[in-house]
Symmetry: C2
Amino acid sequence: MTTAIDVWGDYFSIAKWQAVVAEALESGDSKPIANINPNDSREFDAIFLGGGAAGRFGAAYCRALGGRVLIIDRWPFLGGSCPHQACVPHHLFSDCAAQLMLERTFSGKLWFQNLNDKMVSIKNIVELFRNGRTGPHAVMNYQSKEQLGLEFVLNAEFSIVDPQTIQVGECQFQAKNLVLALGAKPLVAEIPGARLKGVFNSQTLVENLDYEPANTIVVIGGGKSAIEYGCFFNATGRRTLVVARHQVMPMIKDVESRAYAILMMEEQGMEFLENAGFMAIQGDSQDKVKSVSIKTPSGIINVDTDFVFLGLGEQANSEQIAQILGLETGEKGFIKVNRHMQTSLPNVYAVGDLTGPPMEMFKARKEGVCAAKNIMGQVSEYKAADYPDFMHTHYEVCWLGLSEEEARKRYGNVKIMKLPPDNPNGFDVGLPAGDRMMLYLMAKPRMSGFQKLIIDGDTRKILGAFHIGYGAKDGFQYLNSLVKKGLTIDDLADMDELFISPSYFIQLCRLRAGDPHFKNM
Amino acid sequence: MTTAIDVWGDYFSIAKWQAVVAEALESGDSKPIANINPNDSREFDAIFLGGGAAGRFGAAYCRALGGRVLIIDRWPFLGGSCPHQACVPHHLFSDCAAQLMLERTFSGKLWFQNLNDKMVSIKNIVELFRNGRTGPHAVMNYQSKEQLGLEFVLNAEFSIVDPQTIQVGECQFQAKNLVLALGAKPLVAEIPGARLKGVFNSQTLVENLDYEPANTIVVIGGGKSAIEYGCFFNATGRRTLVVARHQVMPMIKDVESRAYAILMMEEQGMEFLENAGFMAIQGDSQDKVKSVSIKTPSGIINVDTDFVFLGLGEQANSEQIAQILGLETGEKGFIKVNRHMQTSLPNVYAVGDLTGPPMEMFKARKEGVCAAKNIMGQVSEYKAADYPDFMHTHYEVCWLGLSEEEARKRYGNVKIMKLPPDNPNGFDVGLPAGDRMMLYLMAKPRMSGFQKLIIDGDTRKILGAFHIGYGAKDGFQYLNSLVKKGLTIDDLADMDELFISPSYFIQLCRLRAGDPHFKNM
């Protein structure tokens, strides 16, 4: 590591980091960026391999507890795949979907331009992301170095010498513990033609897209990633066909909430082929996608397209490491850990997406924290459970706890509060509607959202909550914490709502509170 | 009331209510709409005069406790001024401001139309609201009648015979208690020319606007209403000058948060004249506004305009009622009540905006509930305190608890966590950014928001929180409840965040949790 860039002791502003990261990414120069305290002679308590959500938060926590840690990452920034290829671009695309749905709905009305039958460039939006992503990278590096005082080696290929020794270039680093936080990547599909040009996943889309997709897109998969990207493609004005082996969006357990989400997608023109059998992607003479064949109960369907998106889930970045260290792995290469985050090797921990689902930020970060605690002698256990969840369609869809159907299986006196209420208009009602929903409320009421609260009528405790709309995501984080502590409709009725909230849970509960035998609403 | 429309016993769908309400509003027909149970021979426990937030929620709670109540309202719908002239149009206009700021920022880029130097019609947006508002009215009537089983007489002028007797047409209604829930209305300004044509407040804007304002608007006032409407006018592409006798937005106590909010407004072209002295509005020969004169330290400024907006606060709708009943009132006609919501007369209660600030929905509703409890024999006290708050600029601005400055006066070891962090770029950083902020994050980072958490470093308790951006409003409702119960940074660090949240409080706390002497962030 004699050729490393040594940043220790120099103040690096966010702007300076942005320049350094952009330069490293553009040049492809693999000169490591080292931030190591030469005056600290202590052995490292842990080396974190990977500085994404799990590694960076674990390292920060280790240091907060007084430990010395080193993060090693192959990228020139901390934060991992999230801001580079995963969550952040997905959120950008979902924001574009929300924005485009609004503009298409009001096309030619009020001040809105006419977008009818107009396609919007996917390539331009991808390029916007590619050019803008170094900003968040820079913030993460700044925060890690200047605010958290973390030590790290970035832009660095490493090799494992033994479970206590990591080699970067000519330099060896030793630590009492090793924490593997190497993340995951999109599953490669076992579909004929999956390696043709024009077949993308969430990662290759942002890295490799270099042409403008034509007017038909096939999305393979029915989970979060498939639907989220599918809605974006649809919103750009392209025919979008989602092909799933089973159901789409099985994670939304509440039947009504899922139905509303699907109805709104269909009204935007999304097409779904559920329970699709064998699929194959055909290429032309240049190995470029030209069509997809899908077996359905009514025969084979052929769709001409130059763009196929695979949203089939994730597999662990564990191939080499598991082999070298001889770690136990499960399906898709996920590394097996106990509740202390320990692998099958003593003093080797694994955290984050590398250990398997849920592939969510909070889970990765909390596993990192759990490993850090154990390393620093605070015996700690963690297993993701009872967490709130969300996904994007053109909307933000949030949920926590039980669906109505799940609740009715477990409780004898389930009560429901929802908007729109059960009524002959069905969804054609302009409530719920909070901020960023008001144009829909006024002109296209059925598009203003859906929400539902599921309650045990006996204990009056909240069992579950669902919201489709905008602006409730932050609330679900805190609401979930309250629900886990036994929140009742009377507690909710006693809170101070901010009008007009995206979710009307407080208000609806207050209208029913006081009645020992409250009814549905 | 022999000529009343009797709706008791008939099922009224939301669609049917919409038609009935629209017909009553358009025709101006004052035939009352009565929903009174002819089979209930009990005396009314309370008559609620006014079926807005305070009256409707109070009545619902009274009924939930087993009481019999009657609501009488002059409008053909329940819900009061909120969905008709106040909160709902304000939210629609603020949504338009957010949307227009985005479109102007990206004017001519990506798929965005070119809005540079283009004015958008205010009249069309006001008309959209006027035509759309019967939807929410219908939901409220449906909910009140079909779901809550409330009895009411709508579209009805009433007179007070005595504190137990209310007359509507030829009909008299008797009740054990009277609850006054008549709301408030915009203060009429004591400014020369305030009654000229072309001078509006939030109420007259939605009712009376019948021309397209020209390219300069003067807003008088510096509080929520003035700023919220001012940002909307600005976003439509008009020069907007906000003239305040003192400071603008004094309710945002955190200096940095307020500075960010003001900076963002100034970057949109808003102009502020603070500490303005004497003002006068001049009219032309048809009594139509033509200019405004404002005394400033550097002399009199004259601004030509055909549209002046007064955002000067509210006064109680108490003139007649206070006189007839001989009730004690305070400034601006607000009716004096004790913590049981009782006026100076036994068995006469007053709730909601009629009793004075804060003029917020939760306060009105909870006062209604408090009165209901006392009427039904559950001795209850209420005084709005420690509530979360918000206002719109082009953004949603939310806050709770103490500002940094207030906290430093009371606590010796105040810690701060914020985004963007203190850094030489100032606000030019693309974090925080959650949903509906991603385009700004990628292309105009400084517009992606500001947030701040204020913590007592000794007890580790959260003292205050501020957020300027989108999507955090729902969260502040629940976060406030947690903060009042003693939420610490360690509690926050243990929650399950939904990535990318509009507010990063959980994440920031987790990066610092574990350290007994955590630093600012």
